[in-house]
Amino acid sequence: MAIRLVPLGALPAARLDHLAEQLGRLLGLPVDTWFETLPVDDVFDPRRDQFRSDLLLERLTRDFASETRVLGVTESDLFIPVLTFVFGEAQLGGRAAVVSTFRLRNELYGLPADKGLLEDRLVKEAMHELGHTFGLLHCHNTTCVMQTSTYAEMVDLKPATFCAECQARYEAFVAGRLRLTTLNARQPVGR
């Protein structure tokens, strides 16, 4: 099991390097970054002035068919048609996930830029979306990265790590001892 990071549109290299290092440390898996940037123009919706995350997931799945896990990272504003925006999206128990820094930036909320805070938020959202690809659902535990976040400040309140229960499920999933159907039968989860 390994994770491939794919830059979707222009991104600072240092941010991707930091993300790769942190994900490797937190998940205990090898993390490599794809050597080139993929364009996102084809998933742009001019009416919404946003980018379709579901189409990005389809493309990552198709173009990186040999990867066990692929995480697209973008600075573009993502959406799915029924929602106004998403921080990221993932295939539950699948191979692909995508995460955006657009709404994690302080500047969007009229606050001064904070590079460190942005990197922390990105690591948490990347962990959250990758967690879904390992079959994890939203968790009610406030000390778990799988707790749902619908605005940036909520991301700050949670840690970058799984709670003990989700960590155990993650490890079992990676070791091939847990299937998705079992995961879905777990105890209540909450946003």
Partner: protein, 450 residues
């Protein structure tokens, strides 16, 4: 304990939208949140899904080809009235939203919806559904508890009592319930309270017969701190606790002359003072009282104040003894059987025919209370799913009053004895009696021998 089934991970959501991307997005969104999600591309598929599956919540798109969301909402709620429906619309139309809410939709969201708003709308719907389930389950519990305290019967005598209750309950007048011990006078009082406009206020029963004069005084009127040795705190009396509701004075014929005078004063002025106090307390309650004593005789003999008697004896309900409504014995016996089988979690469903015959033939001097105790005991001791004669206490069976020498009474007594001898076998009993089976069946019906 109330079990609530709607834990979040057991909730089933149906997403109905003609756009595939909306269906898959919402399916993924809610699945990640721990819900069980199904999708339908149009109204017809949604109706099919609802026929085969159970759903708690439906998210329905307003604009769909064919049957639109509003029509689908009506049909979904016809099939499953408890279904919570949230409408999704791409056009923020106030008319559509108002119509949906008027039809019973829980809420509506406009596409594209803010993720935080969607989360809150669904969480609120789940919360409301949970409360509705809790309410329904608590109502069931209350219904069972109330059912256990109902005046039960289908005989002419029982119906007459229930008719009088229905007539007197709304009138807010003072009621005197008379009848032998164990006939269910308190049940009649509770029925009067439950059918009155005071039903949302307390029903306070007071057993006047079991207390000494001073205790009864303190029980009725309460006391101030230091009123007597041991009165460390002010305590409200039952009349004060019953404010707005009903006071049931059981065995009112047994109270002393002094308390009779105090009670009369309260009934006339609706005011009293607590024991050891000086301040008047205003109260508003309805009085229902009961006695098995011959109060007219007590008045004649000077044991009961005449003025209090007339104050209490406004509307009289006579509760007949069980021997005068034998036809109710099987109904009452089965009612108590269900009550105690449920309370003891035992699978006892009915009476063996001979056991029931024994219950019907006994005189029941202790009336319904004695019958209830006999059935409770039988449910405890039985090892069968039907109550057997051996499960019942020793009952000296005599269908009619031995002193009653009328032809009907003698015939009834004789037929009951023969039926008991044959273990309830009607064909054999008819042979022994020298009459045909149809005649015996008619007599059994006439004398309520079954």
């Amino acid at each position: 304990m109330v079990q609530i089934a709607a834990a979040k991970d057991e909730l089933r959501i149906l997403v109905v939208d003609d756009e595939e991307v909306v269906r898959t997005s919402l399916e993924r969104w809610f699945t990640e949140d721990g819900y069980h999600v199904s999708t339908a591309a149009d109204a017809a598929q949604a109706l099919r899904e609802l026929q085969v599956g159970k759903f708690d919540l439906a998210l329905v798109d307003v604009k769909m080809p064919g049957m639109d969301g509003l029509e689908l909402q009506r049909r979904l709620q016809e099939i499953e009235p408890s279904l919570t429906v949230i409408m999704i619309t791409a056009y923020a139309s106030v008319d559509t939203a108002v119509q949906a809410l008027k039809q019973g939709a829980f809420d509506y969201v406009t596409k594209p919806v803010d993720p935080d708003h969607l989360t809150h709308v669904v969480a609120n719907a789940v919360k409301q559904r949970r409360l509705a389930l809790e309410k329904s389950q608590l109502e069931d519990e209350v219904h069972h508890l109330r059912g256990a305290c109902e005046f039960v019967g289908d005989s002419e005598a029982a119906r007459k009592v229930m008719e009088l209750v229905a007539t007197a309950a709304p009138a807010d007048t003072t009621i005197m319930i008379r009848g032998e011990s164990g006939t269910g006078k308190e049940l009649v009082a509770r029925a009067l309270h439950q059918q009155s406009k005071r039903r949302f206020f307390p029903f306070v029963p007071i057993n006047c017969g079991g207390l000494t004069d001073s205790l009864l005084e303190s029980e009725l009127f309460g006391h101030e701190k230091g009123a007597f040795t041991g009165a460390q705190y002010r305590r409200k009396g039952k009349l004060e606790l019953a404010d707005g509701g009903t006071v049931f004075l059981d065995e009112v014929g047994n109270i002393s002359q002094k308390t009779q005078m105090d009670l009369l004063r309260v009934l006339e002025s609706k005011q009293f003072t607590r024991v050891g106090g000086s301040r008047n307390v205003d109260v508003d309650f309805r009085t229902i009282c009961a006695t098995n004593r011959d109060l007219e005789l007590a008045v004649k003999e000077g044991d009961f104040r005449e003025d209090l008697f007339y104050r209490l004896n406004v509307f009289v309900i006579n509760v007949p003894p069980l021997r005068e409504r034998r036809g109710d014995i099987p109904i009452l016996a089965r009612h108590f059987l269900a009550k105690y089988a449920r309370a003891m979690s035992k699978q006892v469903t009915d009476f063996d025919s001979e056991a029931l015959l024994r219950l019907e033939m006994y005189r029941w001097p202790g009336n319904v209370r004695e019958l209830e105790n006999a059935v409770e005991r039988a449910v405890v001791v039985t090892r069968s799913n039907t109550i057997q004669p051996r499960d019942l206490p020793e009952l000296e069976c005599s269908v009619t009053d031995p002193a009653d020498l009328s032809m009907d009474a003698v015939e009834r007594r004789h037929m009951a004895q023969v039926l008991q001898q044959t273990g309830g076998n009607v064909t054999r009993a008819a042979e022994l009696l020298g009459i045909n089976r149809v005649t015996l069946y008619n007599k059994i019906k006439k004398y309520s021998l079954r």
